[in-house]
């Protein structure tokens, strides 16, 4: 059961990572009009507002999955990391849990600023909140995968 939950958690995280990365790049500004469009131009030329509600739902559901997995981590993985004297691995996970918690708290205001019609005077907070959430998601994704595979990654 825990393996199924871990895989579902990972798949939801992939969807969240894709959505938040699209949106984070979309708020950089309009792609250059001159020349032909690159892959990056096409990647960021999405309607960012359309991603807001799915991102809120995916973030909350993925965090819930992580919360359900956490007891197993606390009982099995963290003591193993402590036995290996790998405090850095524990540290990056501690930061991950803090960022996820702070991110959960940010979802209401993030959603508030992304509601339609988009107000011009909230473009800056919308952009920076999106980048903050993107940082949280990328951190959580990379740390989650590294810790999941840490026995294979260590020499």
């Amino acid at each position: 059961m825990i393996v199924v939950l871990l895989i579902v958690h990972g798949l939801l995280a992939v969807a969240l990572l894709g959505a938040i990365t699209h949106q984070a790049l979309s708020v950089l500004g309009a792609p250059s009009a001159k020349g032909r469009w690159t892959f990056v131009d096409r990647f960021r030329s999405v309607n960012g507002a359309a991603y807001a509600t799915p991102i809120v739902v995916l973030f909350a559901v993925t965090a819930l999955g992580g919360a359900l997995l956490y007891p197993q981590y606390r009982i099995d993985v963290r003591p193993a990391l402590e036995d290996m004297q790998n405090s850095a691995a524990n540290g990056v996970f501690e930061i991950k849990e803090h960022l996820v918690a702070i991110g959960l708290g940010l979802l209401p205001v993030y959603w508030f600023f992304w509601r339609q019609p988009l107000a011009a005077d909230t473009a800056a907070p919308r952009r920076y909140l999106t980048w903050l959430l993107a940082f949280f998601v990328w951190w959580g994704f990379v740390v989650g995968h590294v810790l999941n595979n840490i026995r294979g990654l260590q020499p």
């Binding site: 405090s87 930061i95 918690a101 708290g105 940010l106 209401p108 959603w111 907070p125 903050l132």
Partner: protein
């Protein structure tokens, strides 16, 4: 969901979360080996998870504060605080958690 007090909730949430984890103000504690929730510290039943309790503390306190703030005041609040305060909270958290890497 158009209530401007959502801004207050999110601004305050991160600050209270950091205070909660720094001063160990978890609303409750979960002991995964025993599969038990406790309001107070309970020794002898294995490791403890405080994270759920910190989030619960932050959510309840932030909701109470946001609810107490007048709607007009929340509307007038400069929107920039919505990302500046959480960014400062993240920076403070990263500085505090340097302890794992030294």
């Amino acid at each position: 969901m158009n209530d401007p007090r959502l801004k207050i909730f999110s601004i305050v949430f991160g600050v209270i979360y950091v205070v909660a984890f720094y001063f160990d103000l978890a609303l409750f504690r979960y002991y995964p080996a025993a599969r038990e929730f406790h309001w107070l510290r309970t020794d002898g039943i294995g490791v403890v998870i405080l994270w759920y309790g910190w989030i619960a503390t932050s959510a309840l306190a932030s909701a109470a504060i946001a609810f107490a703030v007048p709607r007009t005041l929340a509307e007038r609040l400069w929107p920039g605080w919505a990302w500046i305060v959480p960014t400062a909270v993240v920076v403070a958290t990263l500085i505090y958690e340097r302890r794992w890497f030294v």
